[in-house]
Symmetry: C2
Subunit: 228 residues, 2 copies
């Protein structure tokens, strides 16, 4: 029997969580290889020999090493070990999932990560002061302009691509949910479809969704308590 | 016989050029549907009904519409009308091409487009003044830090993925070549592998490469002449 694929990840990374949830839900067998970003383990020489980009997630399959979450999804699918429901085989459905996975980079991911980085990550690490209110406003404006696109262009049905959950939903929602660390929750009145879709994705992927987001939930609640 | 796939594009768009070169070189049959960005044709209602993102490139295949260049490559490959040499079928080779296509978004593409936008596009359209020298310096620094990654992490062999040209090379090089409009050329001494690779990609893809870049070449030379 061939050895299991090694999965290198950290739950503080959005694509790491998304891929972990998708693999758990879709029963892709893998060996757990956590990389603690808080200890900068991704910057060690040892990890560089696993992923030259020094980022998570990454996989090692025998002698083959691969980075970039979206390309990992495709590799696993081509190898036949990724759920066909989550990454469909039908030509047009797969293309639509691919279209989202490409589109999200410069839309959802770019703005959500920037907001997360400036408002939570850098201040929490002591690498930058908390941004000024006007900068936070600008970051939120950019996030919301993209949530608006999601609402208008992607959510005609229950999920991003039709009536069923796919890996597109897991990737998109993982980016958005992380903003809870910045005390940002999607406003149900402003973005009703996005808010309902986020709940639907959580329901369809639990218990893995909550497990992968436990750090996000715990830390964002602690921040609320500390303020009160 | 089924109708040809309609290809909507403009040579001012990096991914439009890349996909056009790859389709021409790989003999993918398509119907030419230029969309003049300079006339803002991408913002018309007519074009919105073709690509809801109102961006180029896009394809229409019968009743199916698709945006996002990288997902178009995969759709065409899955349909069997994209060159297997340019987008290999072998599991590991395809994964490495995919890894580059994902990696380039937040590396090559993000910094090169920003530089192009701030230094050439917005001033040329009269939408913003030419940036100050210190801003240009910062933009170049970001570009060069990513060219350094390309030099170190990707160019062990003649092309990005082994010894043969793939669609990864065409996409990457199209982003970098566009900076000629900002009078930026890759410095051979600073980035010898990148500079040689750029020439190699041009040679391997001509006459299509030069045809797709004719606007870039012409306009950047005019700018040099105007300065003299």
């Amino acid at each position: 029997m061939s050895k299991a694929i090694k999965y290198y990840y950290d739950f503080l990374s959005q694509p790491s969580r998304a891929l972990w949830i998708a693999m758990k839900l879709g029963k892709t067998p893998f060996e757990d290889c956590p990389v603690a970003l808080r200890k900068q383990e991704q910057l060690t020489d040892e990890y560089r020999s696993i992923n030259r980009f020094q980022k998570v997630p990454a996989i090692v399959d025998g002698k083959f090493q691969l980075g970039e979450s979206v390309s990992i999804v495709r590799y696993l699918a081509d190898k036949g070990v990724f759920s066909e429901q989550l990454y469909p085989k039908t030509l047009e459905e797969r293309a639509r999932v691919d279209e989202f996975l490409e589109w999200q980079h410069f839309n959802v991911r770019l703005v959500c990560s920037l907001f997360f980085r400036q408002v939570w990550l850098l201040p929490a690490k002591g690498l930058a002061p908390a941004p000024k209110p006007e900068s936070v406003k600008k970051l939120i404006k950019d996030v919301e302009s993209n949530l608006g696109l999601l609402e208008r262009l992607w959510l005609e049905k229950d999920f991003l691509v039709g009536d069923k959950l796919t890996v597109a939903d897991i990737f998109g929602s993982s980016e958005i949910n992380q903003m809870k660390l910045c005390q940002y929750n999607v406003n149900e009145k402003q973005f009703p479809k996005v808010a309902k879709w986020m709940e639907r994705v959580r329901d369809a992927t639990n218990p893995y969704y909550d497990e992968a987001h436990s750090f996000v939930y715990k830390t964002s609640q602690q921040a609320v308590k500390a303020k009160n």
